[in-house]
């Protein structure tokens, strides 16, 4: 009852691991796919060369939200090959999140990921804390269009564009993705935020500012999905503060076909995907539906 087709991918359930969570190596992703029960997993964002990311502290935890700035650390795509290859026997689709400093870098990494066996590409146009990449692209209609188009022209697997809410008008960015033939939009990445400790009298994160994720992000992200769904026809994947099946359903009603889960892994454990699926299923049953499809976009 929970299987769904998103951007051409057949998923056994609509919960996906969000990028940057447990994704440093294939082993972490495998744990989420196998023990966790995610319908798909997104790798951490991968670049051309290895990157250490920011110094610690990289994370600040609140009751049910986080502020974090890891700075997109990763091994570089060549090293990452064996991490992705490890995942083949799980039969869970692997979405490779990629980023670059320059459009050619996005393209180069995306092509490699396709070759390594990724089922789809997620273009990181969302992440705010790593210089001229991620949200640097996603904050411009023009650059968004260019990146999506360039990658689409070089890979055959579906391409998702992950967007940031740190823009004046997310709908116009989403339209640029649609025009550039993106297969799906992921909304949203973390919103720029920070924590200052009043005793240390300093920003807590080494990068000073970071991204807000978790429960606090949900009302903002649901609004983004809803606004995009009203204007754009390609598939949408909701992301931000999904902790429970009820949270996921809110995204489906707003027009998302799947959801990504990041922060909740911390608060509900790796098995959060299974738990959320169980909760979605019991919601669907209690409301008399027999498939997930029936509720997509009902609140639009």
């Amino acid at each position: 009852m929970l299987n769904i087709k998103v951007a051409g991918l057949e998923l056994s359930n609509p919960t996906m691991l969000a990028s940057g969570i447990m994704g440093v190596s294939g082993s972490g992703l495998k744990a989420v796919a196998v023990k966790g029960g995610a319908g798909a997993i997104v790798t951490q964002s991968i670049s051309i060369a290895p990157r250490e990311g920011h110094k610690n502290p990289t994370i600040y935890t609140m009751d049910d939200s986080l502020i974090s700035a890891f700075g997109l650390p990763n091994q570089g795509y060549l090293n990452y090959r064996e991490e992705i290859e490890q995942l083949k026997d799980t039969n869970v689709p692997v979405v490779a999140s990629v980023y670059g400093y320059g459009i050619e870098e996005y393209v180069e990494v995306a092509k490699a990921m396709e070759e390594f066996g990724a089922s789809a590409i997620e273009l990181n146009l969302a992440y705010p804390n790593a210089g001229k990449t991620g949200s640097f692209y996603g904050q411009s209609e023009h650059l968004t269009y260019e990146v999506v188009r360039a990658v689409k022209s070089k890979v055959k697997i579906p391409v998702f564009a992950k967007l940031t809410a740190n823009v004046t008008d997310i709908v116009s960015i989403a339209k640029a993705c649609e025009e550039a033939k993106a297969d799906a939009i992921v909304a949203i990445g973390p919103v720029g935020a920070m924590k200052i400790d009043i005793y240390a009298k300093k920003p807590v994160l080494a990068n000073k500012t970071g991204g807000l994720s978790g429960k606090c992000l949900k009302p903002i992200a649901v609004r983004c999905v809803y606004e995009i769904a009203k204007e754009v026809d390609i598939d949408i994947i909701g992301c931000g503060g999904v902790f429970t099946g009820e949270d996921a359903v809110e995204y489906f009603l707003a027009g998302a076909k799947a959801v990504q889960i990041g922060t909740a892994v911390l608060y509900r454990g790796i098995r959060v995907f299974k738990k959320v699926c169980r909760e979605i299923e019991s919601y669907l049953k209690s409301q008399g539906y027999s498939s997930l499809d029936e509720i997509i976009g009902l609140a639009l």
């Binding site: 440093v24 082993s27 992703l29 023990k35 290895p50 990289t58 994370i59 570089g76 300093k202």
Partner: protein, 267 residues
């Protein structure tokens, strides 16, 4: 719940050896031996440190190594540090075990001292092997002795106790005595060898691992072990022998800040 950042002051500093200092924090805590803290030094970094004092005021014991630990060694009483603790899973003392062996090398002794104290409190008979490069670098021997543990000492250079590694002492000991459980912390190569010795005698053992930590709470994936998929910061840092057996990278490599594998030099 996940331990939140708590900014506090250094209450007391104890110079343990030439390169090791203990910092008692102005913060009371309830923790298990083997659990750790993420320690934030504003403007410097935040790194994992085992809790070496877990009753009353929390304490950490730090070996001067690179930039972070050097700065920490320069800190003074009253200086501010940020603490997230307790984190991870501590050592497990099982009711049925009456006689336990503790094997600690270098700074690895830090989480083992509170373990010994707790074990004695629970009525267990504790034997400890404590090793260091040289006599002056031996850590917490007095804490073990104070609670009445039987203590064996090893130094690489023979300046105290048995000349050699902790595993040399362990091998000798296990020839004449047996134990219900064994707890090991030290350089990874030492832990591999100690586990082998224990396994040969069928002694259930726990090791406490070090890996590069970022979040310290199980979300970033930096510390995930290949083979088993365990997060050292969350399912660990302590692992049972039967758990660590499934972790193919154990004894072979760790991953640096970028996630790239770094192989251990075999001694």
């Amino acid at each position: 719940m996940i331990a939140k950042l708590h900014v506090t002051k250094i209450r007391e500093i104890i110079k343990e050896t030439r390169r090791i200092k203990t910092f008692i924090l102005d913060m009371k805590i309830k923790a298990q031996p083997g659990q750790f803290a993420m320690v934030w030094l504003p403007d410097v970094d935040e790194k994992p440190m085992a809790l070496s004092y877990i009753d009353g005021y929390a304490g950490i014991t730090v070996l001067k190594l690179g930039d972070f630990t050097k700065k920490l060694h320069e800190a003074k009483v009253g200086d501010i540090v940020g603490i997230r603790a307790p984190l991870g899973r501590g050592f497990k003392l099982r009711d049925e075990d009456k006689k336990i062996l503790i094997v600690g090398g270098g700074i690895g002794v830090a989480p083992l001292a509170p373990l010994a104290e707790k074990a004695v409190e629970e009525g267990k008979e504790v034997t400890a092997i404590i090793g260091a490069v040289t006599k002056s670098e031996l850590l917490f021997v007095n804490r073990f002795e104070k609670v009445g543990a039987k203590v064996y000492i090893t130094t690489d250079d023979g300046t105290a106790g048995i000349k050699g590694f902790t595993t040399d002492a362990m091998r000798m000991l296990l020839e004449k005595e047996t134990f219900d459980a064994c707890y090991i912390c030290g350089p990874e190569i030492m832990m591999v060898k100690a586990l082998e010795l224990a396994r040969a005698k069928k002694i259930p053992s726990q090791v406490s691992l070090h890996r590069y930590f970022k979040c310290g709470i199980g979300i970033c994936g930096a510390c995930v072990l290949d083979g088993c998929g365990y997060r050292v910061c969350k399912e660990g840092p302590t692992f049972w022998d039967f758990e660590i057996e499934k972790c193919s990278e154990f004894g072979s490599y760790w991953r640096n800040a970028a996630g790239v594998k770094v192989y251990f030099k075999k001694k």
